[in-house]
Symmetry: C2
Subunit: 258 residues, 2 copies
DNA sequence: CGAGGCTTTGAACTGATTCAACCGCAGTGG
DNA sequence: CCACTGCGGTTGAATCAGTTCAAAGCCTCG
């Protein structure tokens, strides 16, 4: 239904002047300084503040891009939540990430020139469009920016690697870590650390954590039983952060001691 | 011409860690052009060919760096195989990667300034040292290089993301994909595509793929039973690439039709 | 030759998946 | 207003893939 948007975005890609049709009311744009603040990179940009970056708005369930589409822009998330999914011949596309405010989207497509994940909006979103051409152009004149970009990209890689820490943990422990991750993300946005709404369905949560959605449900319920959290639909209240963090595959006491 | 590299290398040696003493005899160095060829980035570098990058040699089981050590260099693998492991409080450190010729190591530490994985040599290795200072310096003068670095880093991220495609596959299928990955890696180095030696132990293989080492053993054996491969210790011979690729979790026929 | 590390094999065990049914809520249309 | 529909979430029961423990076999290297 909104595929028109993708087409028009592509057209813009060619024209090198991103101006999405859907953002029919593009009141907003950001300066380079605002963009850097959003991405949390600190550079001296006094001379380049005249650059402005347009915004794109997405509605829930809109797709920002699909696998295989040319990658000519990156996007910094200003508001809203998204999910990235991998293409597989399976019916269930595995979820590989939940970008939100401060995330830089699209990096995965730089190497091949084409996007390698699908990006869908979980809620209404506002994104800052960063054309790759502009990025390279700016990098030439503003060395600090290159450094900042290296840092952002490396950060994404490090975060992705750390995901592997969850391997070997029980489903319950993975859910626990996951909740703490979101807790920190909300806290870093200035929201409450211990009460928040998860933006995704159980199925997406499970897929991201590598378990069936029923398992996600049961793990949440089990954590609630233990008094570590309270759940009400997608609203989470964390009671015992420390316990959530130290959950792990218990040694499994076999017919032992006694 | 070496001054910059030597300074930072020395600084690292003195200040931070006991870098392998064997690196004391670095006979070789590479030009920027050689480095770019190694990393498979194509840029016009005629004017910068006077830069030279020192080499480091590692012996089997040597560590290139540990978690927490300052990240001031990247390393391009020239020869040999390594493994990257995450730190956890568990006894078994999860393996997150097997860098080899062409891989760029150390990116994960750029964002935080400190390394976030352990890097150990699985075999004797030769690495090209790329000081971050030099990288930033060069990027200023040679815009193409920045672009190339973005591409390399983004490629690492994309590769890391694609690892998630293995989620949801059976152990056997994951092993199959793993073997094909190595097959392609060897092929891209100009070696035989269908016969090769894996550089890592079963335990590391299993850890990387998220399974117990016994499961890795059994999956390999099962593939051999099916006639898709032959195994002899760490020597693998692939007979049916297509079948390896199409392995997946079979639908599980329950007490079926009625 | 012996020690120790890696690999294989067997057998018991269990966490998680799968299937299936049900609940509750939101949107829709009569 | 209420039946209807569909989706997300929850719950239960059976089953299985993979883990864990245990022990033996094999290879390498000092």
């Amino acid at each position: 239904m909104f595929s028109m948007q993708e087409r028009s975005l592509d057209a813009q890609h060619c024209a090198d002047q991103p101006m999405p049709a859907r953002a029919a009311s593009p009141q907003h744009s950001s300066s380079l300084i605002e963009l850097c603040e959003l991405l949390n990179v600190s550079v001296d940009l006094r001379h380049y503040s005249h650059f402005r970056f347009q915004h794109v708005r997405l509605r829930r369930d809109d797709h920002l891009y699909h696998v295989g589409q040319p990658c000519r822009h990156l996007y910094a998330v200003k508001t809203g939540f998204l999910k990235a999914t991998l293409p597989t011949n399976m019916e269930r596309q595995p979820v590989v990430g939940f970008p939100m405010r401060g995330s830089l989207i699209g990096i995965e497509g730089i190497a091949s020139g084409r996007h390698t994940v699908d990006l869908a909006a979980l809620s209404d979103c506002e994104l800052v469009v960063l054309p790759l051409d502009t990025l390279h152009h700016l990098g030439r004149e503003c060395p600090d920016l290159s450094r900042g970009m290296y840092s952002v990209m490396a950060g994404e890689l490090a975060r992705e690697l750390s995901v592997s820490k969850r391997r070997g943990l029980s489903a319950k422990a993975r859910i626990g870590r996951f909740l703490l991750d979101w807790s920190d993300r909300f806290a870093s946005m200035g929201y409450a650390r211990n009460v928040f709404n998860l933006p995704m369905a159980r199925g997406d949560m499970g897929s991201y954590l590598g378990m069936a959605q029923e398992t996600a449900t049961r793990a949440l319920f089990s954590l609630e039983q233990d008094g570590l959290i309270s759940i009400n639909q997608r609203t989470i209240c964390i009671h015992d952060r420390c316990a959530l963090l130290t959950l792990k595959r218990q040694p499994r006491q076999r017919y032992s001691s006694d």
